[in-house]
């Protein structure tokens, strides 16, 4: 097994005492595309913002995040700044608010080129234009002097990607990169990310609440729920045979074209971080939950090569018909 590019170990993040991430272990290998899936508030974005030390000061972060083996959570600020944008780039959900409204596109891209690649003057101009061409921006040269409000959401996201690529990072974190965009633009942006990743040999972490998007674009997937990873594995197998009832629920909640069945929603809501259930966090919403699920939070264990699962009832067969109806008692389901 190759050594991971970034390895997160035992990451805990809390805001004012309320846990947002609870003991996350995650590794990203060079050139790999890793998907991180979960509902809003499941901690998927917070995990990576914490890794890059971009959370506000009131957040308490514990654990270890190593890049090429050295812990970046304890690095001096100066060295951390070289990693941000230089080794690890990040793009955000809503490109229109993630770009500075009063600075030109040229200025916002140039900053990265000057900082991480020591470029200046005409070199910067040429490279900024090349980057905009690379991300498929029409009329790249003319667009350099535009401002974010003069462009569409999709174009702004292309600028964000160009900006993140400007530092030639080894890893790009894409935090819900298409959520704020039109459906037609979403596919274009995802294709662009794929193409760039292949061309640049860069690793990609795709954060999304959409399991379908992740399954299509990633090699490996980790599903998060209430601040923990509940299941991880190769995208194709996880999508075909989810083992965790929550992962199963996410897949059942996806609409399909040929399916006349109604969508199956997961009953209930995500638990309040200040008032976590004692056992499995998904327990209260889980149709398969048994008495053991209420006692302890199940650890993430290897259940097959490359597959890990955090479920006390890991021997469950979830392959049957869609069945996350809240009324079925656990006993009936198991029998």
């Amino acid at each position: 097994m190759k050594t991971p590019l970034v390895k997160i170990e035992g990451l805990n993040v809390a805001f004012d005492g309320a846990p947002a991430v609870r003991g996350v272990d995650l590794a990203v290998h060079p050139g790999e595309a890793l998907g991180l899936v979960g509902e809003s508030g499941s901690g998927k974005s917070v995990t990576w913002l914490a890794a890059l030390r971009l959370l506000p000061g009131k957040a308490s972060v514990q654990g270890r995040v190593s890049l090429d083996g050295s812990d970046i959570l304890s690095l001096p600020v100066r060295e951390m700044e070289r990693i941000r944008g230089g080794r690890i780039g990040i793009i955000f959900q809503d490109p229109s608010s993630a770009l500075n409204p009063v600075l030109s596109i040229r200025r916002q891209i140039s900053e990265v080129l000057a900082l991480h690649r020591g470029m200046s003057g005409s070199e910067i101009r040429a490279e900024a234009k090349r980057l905009l061409d690379l991300v498929g921006m029409p009329d790249a040269k003319g667009r350099l002097d535009s401002y974010p409000h003069e462009m569409s959401g999709g174009q702004n996201q292309r600028v964000m990607i160009a900006m993140a690529l400007a530092g030639q990072p080894d890893l790009l974190i894409a935090d819900e990169p298409t959520t704020a965009l039109d459906v037609t633009i979403q596919a274009q942006i995802l294709d662009l990310l794929q193409q760039i990743r292949r061309e640049m040999g860069m690793a990609l972490v795709l954060i999304s609440h959409d399991l379908g998007v992740v399954a299509e674009n990633c090699d490996r997937v980790a599903v998060m729920y209430a601040g923990r990873i509940v299941e991880s594995g190769p995208a194709a197998t996880l999508f075909d045979t989810p083992r965790h009832p929550y992962a199963r629920g996410l897949i059942d909640a996806l609409p399909t074209l040929d399916d006349t069945q109604r969508l199956v929603a997961i009953p209930g809501v995500v638990p309040d971080p200040r008032d976590m259930p004692r056992g499995c966090a998904f327990g209260p919403r889980c149709a398969y939950a048994g008495p053991e699920c209420l006692l302890d939070s199940p650890p993430l264990r290897a259940v097959a090569p490359g597959r890990r699962l955090a479920c006390a009832r890991h021997n469950l067969d979830l392959a049957g018909p869609k069945s996350t109806t809240p009324n079925s008692t656990p006993a009936e389901v198991v029998s």
Binding site: S97, A98, V102, L103, E111, H149
Partner: protein
């Protein structure tokens, strides 16, 4: 763009006309200058003669039209008290007022903006809380109370500075400080909240995620955005350079426009009051006009006449 500029100018002009009209009407309703200037004992014939000579016996509408006709010929009327042109009287006083308000403006900017920015960057610290307390006090304490407090401490108790008059440069210090502190407090509070708002925006996180040092993020990404709302308040402060010192000039017996205004109102010296109000309105409207054009320079979203339809 030309349409945008013309619209702004037209709007500014209408504002000035409205202010002058309002002042004109209110002054005509607020008592007869003849009885005040000649005294209550004056014989009726003298009063009638006075009113006739100043045109006060005409219908208000006629007076109004005559007043505007004169303004457009550069005639702002004569003072009823000493018969000199009102504009001349006011112009004489402007240097004295600016001698207070200009340094006070510098003081406001030099104290208020850095204090607000620093407080926002260190939110929740002792300095931030101190700035907030000072800012609330600056709002809550009327300038005459602050003025009297400063006089009590520095003139009466310590005897370091004179308490009033305009003989030496030392006489200007207490009025300048009084004016400056109040404005600095307001500006600090405003700058702080503008800065806090900007620091919470996503593009600040983006700037950090690019690897920029925090100082660069603040200077290149936060300050240009926070400047936009702050400029509005600064424009207002500039606009009040002429009329912002009425109370302070009275407390410190400073012979500026403010004191002239107080005396002229008490005497119903119509032309002088109207002349001052016209001047004040013009300064305020002009500085607002400058602010409007500055917005375009500071904020690309407002360029190319984007606001013309607003």
């Amino acid at each position: 763009m030309i349409r945008y500029i013309l619209t702004r100018f037209l709007r500014a002009f209408i504002t000035i006309v409205l202010v002058v009209t309002f002042a004109f009407v209110v002054l005509r309703l607020s008592g007869d200058p003849a009885t005040i200037i000649l005294g209550p004992e004056a014989p009726p014939e003298a009063i009638a003669a006075f009113r006739k000579s100043w045109g006060l016996d005409q219908p208000v509408l006629v007076q109004y039209i005559q007043y505007f006709a004169a303004i457009f010929q550069g005639d702002l009327g004569m003072s009823m008290r000493d018969g000199r042109p009102a504009l001349e009287l006011v112009m004489e006083r402007i240097p004295a007022t600016l001698a207070l308000t200009l340094p006070a403006l510098m003081l406001k900017l030099a104290m208020g903006v850095p204090a607000g920015v620093y407080a926002a960057l260190h939110q929740g610290t002792a300095f931030d809380r101190a700035v907030m307390v000072a800012a609330v006090m600056g709002f809550a304490v009327p300038s005459f109370v602050l003025a009297l407090g400063l006089v009590l401490v520095f003139a009466v108790n310590l005897g370091w500075l004179p308490s009033g008059g305009r003989d030496t440069i030392w006489h200007a210090i207490l009025p300048i400080v009084t004016l400056g502190l109040g404005g600095a407090a307001a500006l600090a509070r405003f700058t702080r909240s503008a800065m806090l708002e900007v620091l919470g925006q996503h593009y600040i996180r983006t700037a950090s995620s690019k690897g920029l040092a925090w100082a660069v993020v603040v200077r290149s990404h936060a300050l240009p955005n926070a400047a936009i709302p702050t400029v509005t308040l600064i424009g207002f402060l500039v606009g009040s350079l002429i009329a912002g010192a009425i109370v302070v000039e009275s407390v410190f017996s400073w012979p500026g426009v403010g004191r002239l205004m107080v005396v002229a109102v008490a005497n119903r010296d119509l032309a002088v009051v109207q002349c001052i109000l016209l001047l004040v309105a013009t300064t305020m409207v002009t500085s607002n006009l400058i602010v409007d054009f500055l917005y375009g320079a500071l904020d690309p979203r407002l360029r190319h006449g984007a606001r013309a339809n607003a």
